[in-house]
Amino acid sequence: MAFNIELPHVGESVTEAVIGKWLKSPGDQVEKYDPLVEVITDKVNMDVPSPESGILTKIFAVEGETVLMGAVIAEMDTGKVEADSSSNQTAPAAQLSAETPPPNRIGTLVQGANVGPTGGEFTDTSLSAETPSNTSSASGSSTPSTTRQKGFSPVVTRLAAQHGVDLATLVGTGLGGRVTKKDVLAAVDQGSNSASPTTVSLDGDEIIEPSAIRRMIADHMVKSMSEIPHAWSAVEVDVTGMVEWRTQNKAKFQSEHGIHLTYLPIALAVVASALKANPRLNSRWSDGKIIIKKSVNIGVAVAAEEGLVVPVVHDANEANVVGLAQQLDAIVSRARSGNMTISDAQGGTFTLNNTGSLGSVWGGAIINHPQAAILTTEAIVKRPVVISNNGEDVVAVRSMMNICLSFDHRIVDGAEASEFLQAVKNGLEAVNLESELA
């Protein structure tokens, strides 16, 4: 029985994926759950497992093609017998249309065949006539005008857009130099076979063909910026206590848990609890409605080799700092090595971006569509700050960090954003040497 293999849905916001390398070829025996094909989405690279056991018969989605989630990408023969729905039809009928019939079934032409009662003897002029000039027999409308030959056909335009091919750089092999479908596909082949992105020099400038992931990030950013009305707010946080706490616990943490202790799990724990208290920041705008997400799943922006990825810590409010540190360690290393699982990539409800690790002190991040907000933790810097010491203002050297929030103004107003920021600020400032976070 022919079985259609569909591209599985991997996350609410992932609507399409780029087909990567096929790991099986038509004719291969495939076991259920065997990796079939690599796909690249804007969140994750993954192997699609085979949904059934059988023989892969056809591949519909070729490498480099963008395919909608749920679309049929291949067909396999599961070897199961299909239930006969048409009792009227005999068995062979069902299989007749699939393949080319053998030539002897199509038939051969009998020389000098008598054609019937009106025919008599005659010469079959239609078979022996000289090739006529075709002017009268092809319908007039089918002849393309010379001006139209300069345009691009629908498939050429579509493939070029899909694969990011600049048609102006192609040399057409069609009539009058027209760029054909084959020309575009050849250019795509050439592009995907070269190790580095294709670069074309034009007037001394360098033109880089973005990778599939780069294009996806680009599309995702455009979508977020054009759909979500962003608003921004920032506060500065005195993290002197947190810095001291980390300094004191770093070695112990390393020896007990085998993990290098960073500020990220602490920030994650504080943000998770602030999201629980301010659920509007943990929501999304969807078809004119606000959907408050039940789970607090925080994506953590990671700079991987090929570009920005955002693995997700699920139910971040339910783990302590040790648990969060362990989860972070695992997903970040998977993200950096390009081995994220589907679960790592999906279900995020809020994003935390530690831009401080790059030295940034202020930022206006783009929200990870379709979430409601994104928070950046900026660099920790020592600064002279006026603090209150027994009711008296004094200048002290403190470790200061800015946190910057970008939020969807359809869902959240400045007041709620500030409440959330204050909750995060208070949570971070409450950490000191006495804290029992671990």
């Binding site: 009227n88 199509i106 038939g107 009998v110 054609v115 090739t131 006529p132 319908s139 498939v155």
Partner: protein, 327 residues
């Protein structure tokens, strides 16, 4: 496996169906002891007798009207129209009545009738023995129209037509009757109505065709292959309902569509195939949807020279292939 011509396959299928089902009868002009003008019914009267193989007057409206009456009362008549050119008096019976039996009786009655119609030209039949009549019937909801072009398909589609509970027009191209010879399995099989078949796989463009033009197209693809053009040929086989999925799949894959037919192109099967491709495959097209057919003149001429000029030929098809492939 036995090789048969199309006419032999048609005849053997009627023998088999009449043996299988005693409600199957045959009626038409000279179908009895004369064995039909093309000898399609030769020998039927000897085995099944005058009650099941009925010679009729020269009146096509009567042949089809009687068939409707027999069909709604439990028989499965096979009406033979001697030449498609003479079917016009029966338009009211087929388009006006047979097509509407199921709908008009709210499904209480159906008309399980088959109308076999030798059609088409290239046989020096002139004005009254060459016509392509498929469009009027293919336009009519409630009728199915099949046009098998090979002995194998002739058997499978005629058997399906006879067993179907609604009226089916079976178009048999008279030029193929004795011209095309191919293998036909002895065992019982049917081919579903509404299923096209790829008769040749190719990558550069697809020819959509049916009837005699299938064979001319296949000849043209061999010539095209010799000059490096790889052409796919989709045999429509059923003209109503058209197999939209197969048409769209092939057109999308090759990106170029050439529709070849013997009938004049205006408001025809090729118009409908072109519309399907236009609607469903726009973003996969790499060339204009192209049609090849005869000039828009009333009849197939009698003069051999003019007939040859009128009919699409393998050479004309090759010219159209080259033109579309090079775009």
């Amino acid at each position: 496996m036995a090789e048969q011509t199309v006419i032999e396959a048609v005849r053997q299928t009627m023998f088999a169906e009449m043996r299988r089902d005693s409600s199957v009868i045959v009626l038409g002009e000279d179908v009895g002891s004369r064995g039909g003008v093309f000898l399609a019914t030769d020998g039927l009267i000897d085995e099944f007798g005058e009650n099941r193989v009925i010679d009729t007057p020269l009146a096509e409206s009567s042949i089809c009207g009687v068939a409707i009456g027999a069909a709604v009362n439990g028989l499965r008549p096979i009406a033979e129209i001697q030449f498609a050119d003479f079917i016009w008096p029966a338009i009211n019976q087929l388009v006006g009545e047979a097509s509407k039996v199921r709908y008009g009786t709210n499904g209480v009655k159906t008309a399980p009738m088959t109308v076999r119609v030798p059609y088409g030209g290239g046989v020096r039949g002139g004005l009254y023995h060459s016509q392509s009549i498929e469009v009027l019937f293919a336009h009519t909801p409630g009728l199915s129209v099949v046009a098998p072009a090979t002995p194998y398909d002739a058997k499978g589609l005629l058997a399906s037509a006879i067993r179907t509970d609604d009226p089916v027009i079976v178009l048999e191209h008279k030029r193929t009757y004795r011209l095309v010879k191919g293998e036909v399995p002895a065992e019982d099989y049917t081919i579903p109505i509404g299923k096209a078949e790829i008769k040749r796989h190719g990558t550069d463009l697809t020819i959509f065709t049916y009837g005699l033009m299938l064979h001319y197209s296949l000849q043209a693809t061999e010539m095209a292959a010799a000059i490096g053009i790889d052409v796919e040929v989709l045999d429509l086989r059923t003209l109503r309902p058209l197999d939209e999925e197969s048409i769209a799949e092939s057109a999308s894959r090759t990106g170029k569509a050439l529709i070849v037919q013997e009938d004049t192109p205006a408001v025809s099967i090729s118009s409908e195939v072109a519309a399907i491709i236009g609607e469903r495959c726009f973003f996969d097209l790499d060339g204009p949807i192209t049609r090849l057919g005869p000039p828009e003149i009333p009849p197939m001429p009698f003069s051999p020279i003019q007939e040859a000029e009128f009919m699409p030929s393998p050479e004309k098809i090759l010219t159209a292939i080259k033109k579309l492939a090079e775009i």
